[in-house]
């Protein structure tokens, strides 16, 4: 029971404590990895060249529902079509319409979400308005396309998917606007 031994134990334990505090923060990137693996709140962004030609599943059709939401942003946000039926492996496009109904310029950011969560990893987007912030002048309307492809590996049990987007106001005058935003999942 020498003091030296006690001190050594204490230092080790303090190290563990600091390590666990850091681990708490490390859970943030780990959680992103988990989300990417499971598809939560994210869909993979890929380049067009990554798509293999002729790899289309002609056997089945998958229903894709488009869902739009706005939160604390004076925009109307609608999908041109609520629902479409697509073939896995084939590049598909959906068009969304936004209108800034306010008398000011508003910066919005769309957060995507896919349901069911497990299906998220089978959806790849070539092009999406959710990849970047959108700035709309007063009264401006805009058509925004999303070009996506559903992987042919999509399990049979997912005969229907929902692609959901929520626009948030991220401008300086937004209520409680975060001053710096983290990198959003595409």
């Amino acid at each position: 029971m020498t003091d030296k031994n006690v001190n050594r134990t204490v230092y080790k334990l303090l190290l563990v404590t600091a390590g666990m505090f850091a681990f708490g923060y490390a859970l943030v990137p780990l959680y992103r990895v988990y989300c990417d693996l499971t598809g939560r709140g994210s869909t993979t962004a890929v380049s067009e060249s990554a798509i293999r030609a002729g790899d289309v599943d002609d056997e089945r059709l998958v229903t894709v529902v488009f869902d739009t939401n706005t939160r604390d942003i004076p925009w109307t946000f609608k999908a041109e079509q609520h629902k479409t039926r697509i073939r896995p492996g084939k590049l598909s496009e959906a068009v969304f319409l936004v209108e800034n109904r306010s008398g000011r310029t508003v910066t919005g950011r769309a957060i995507p979400s896919v349901s069911p969560v497990q299906a998220g990893i089978y959806v790849s987007k070539m092009d999406c308005f959710c990849f970047s912030e959108q700035v709309l002048a007063p009264g401006e309307t805009r058509e925004m396309p999303v070009r996506f492809i559903v992987d042919t590996d999509l399990p049979e049990r997912f005969s229907s998917l929902t692609l959901s987007y929520t626009f948030f106001d991220v401008g300086d005058n937004a209520a409680g606007a975060p001053k710096q935003t983290q990198k959003a999942n595409s």
């Binding site: 942003i73 109904r101 008398g103 997912f158 929902t162 209520a175």
Partner: protein, 379 residues
């Protein structure tokens, strides 16, 4: 001492008996409801199976314990043995629970797979949780509405209201606009939220699902019996968490399409209404409806608010002052107070109507009719 132990033993036996006859009490509200969907029935079966297994384990384990308490007492002259381990016994009582757990896990896994196989649905309803009401959006039919606590429940639930809840039909479990669905259809429920996390739960459907801002969750149900099914928000969402019930009406196919048709017409009317000039009377009528859905929880039916918590609207500087400030308050809220911004939830007609109503009710006599076009210009 022995009398005490007898009491302890008797108490345990009685409570076990109570547990065992619990299913017989189901109709008296002691057990999980069996529900009206394939999922809910499945979960009910699973629940009862685990419950019975637990009862049997409890009877055996506590039985041995009480036998020992009764027989191995010093007062009965028991001499203490000195054994302190037995590897065989220890392996057995590690292995047996494992087997039991695996037996439980099999049906649990099956029912989980059933719950998670959403697949194609006939109707998609998006449910958005707001503080403190639900919004239902029929995706294919393109109409949506809010559903709030019924006015009579709302009046009775105020602090020291003096109203006996027993005199209110379905106290706290009634809403102004129930969500209507057809029986026998596969319905997909997508849940999300506008502000904080809520959880949409109708026990008869067999599940609850969190509604999370920025994300969608989905669940499904095929309701097999017509009826009215009630539920509540299950995730603490602030002050009025207890007061945002869910009423779901399962009706026949014909009845459903009649209802949905009417809702679609009403939605189109509302859209058209934004561009025309509104008369005072129709604004007041519409305003009263909006007020009773969105404002009454805090500002009360008589516009007097709750002293110390919510400001009165009667004779207030906002409702009897310049109209611009009134519009600003309703649309943008008052930061740092309970007054939320309603500009995003309400359309131009609703904002115009409710402001008109507030300026011309309960003795407020401003006489001005606010037009939807005025609101549109403020956005």
């Amino acid at each position: 001492m022995s009398a005490r132990n007898l009491k302890l033993f008797a108490g345990a036996v009685i409570s076990l008996l109570l547990l065992a006859i619990q299913p017989a009490w189901a109709e008296y509200g002691l057990n999980l409801p069996e529900g009206v969907t394939p999922i809910s029935r499945n979960i009910y079966e699973l629940h009862m199976t685990i419950f019975y297994i637990c009862c049997v384990i409890a009877a055996v384990v506590f039985g041995v314990m009480f036998w020992s308490i009764f027989h191995h007492r010093k007062s009965r002259g028991a001499k203490a043995a000195q054994f302190h381990h037995n590897t065989t016994v220890e392996i057995i009582w590690t292995a047996i629970p494992m087997v039991i757990l695996i037996l439980m896990a099999i049906p649990a896994t099956k029912s989980l797979i059933l719950i998670e196989s959403t697949g194609d649905s006939d109707i998609t309803i998006k449910i958005t949780g707001h503080q403190w009401r639900w919004q239902y959006e029929y995706i294919e039919e393109d109409f949506s509405f809010f559903s709030s606590l019924a006015p009579d429940s709302n009046e009775a639930r105020q602090l020291r209201s003096g109203v006996d809840p027993a005199t209110i039909d379905n106290y706290l479990l009634e809403v102004d606009n129930p969500v209507v669905v057809p029986v026998g259809y596969k319905i997909r429920f997508m849940t999300t939220a506008a502000d904080v996390i809520h959880s949409w739960w109708v026990p008869a459907l067999g599940w609850k699902r969190d509604s999370i801002p920025g994300f969608i969750n989905e669940s499904w149900a095929i309701i097999e019996e017509e009826g009215t099914y009630r539920g509540q928000c299950a995730e603490l969402c602030g002050r009025d968490h207890a007061f945002m019930p869910i009423v779901l009406k399962a009706v026949s196919e014909d009845e459903y399409y009649d209802w949905a048709g009417n809702m679609m017409v009403a939605a189109m009317d509302a859209e058209a209404g934004a561009d025309r000039e509104w008369g005072m009377d129709e604004l007041l009528e519409r305003g009263e409806q909006v007020y009773s859905t969105f404002c009454v929880a805090c500002h009360q039916v008589n516009g007097m608010g709750i002293p110390g918590a919510f400001k009165p609207l009667v004779g207030s500087p906002v409702t009897t002052g310049p109209v611009e400030a009134h519009i600003d308050t309703v649309m943008n809220g008052v930061p740092g107070t309970a007054m939320a911004p309603f500009g995003m939830q309400l359309n131009d007609v609703d904002v115009a109507a409710v402001i008109t109503y507030e300026r011309n009710s309960w003795g407020n006599e401003m006489g001005d009719a606010v037009q939807p076009s005025t609101i549109a210009a403020k956005r």
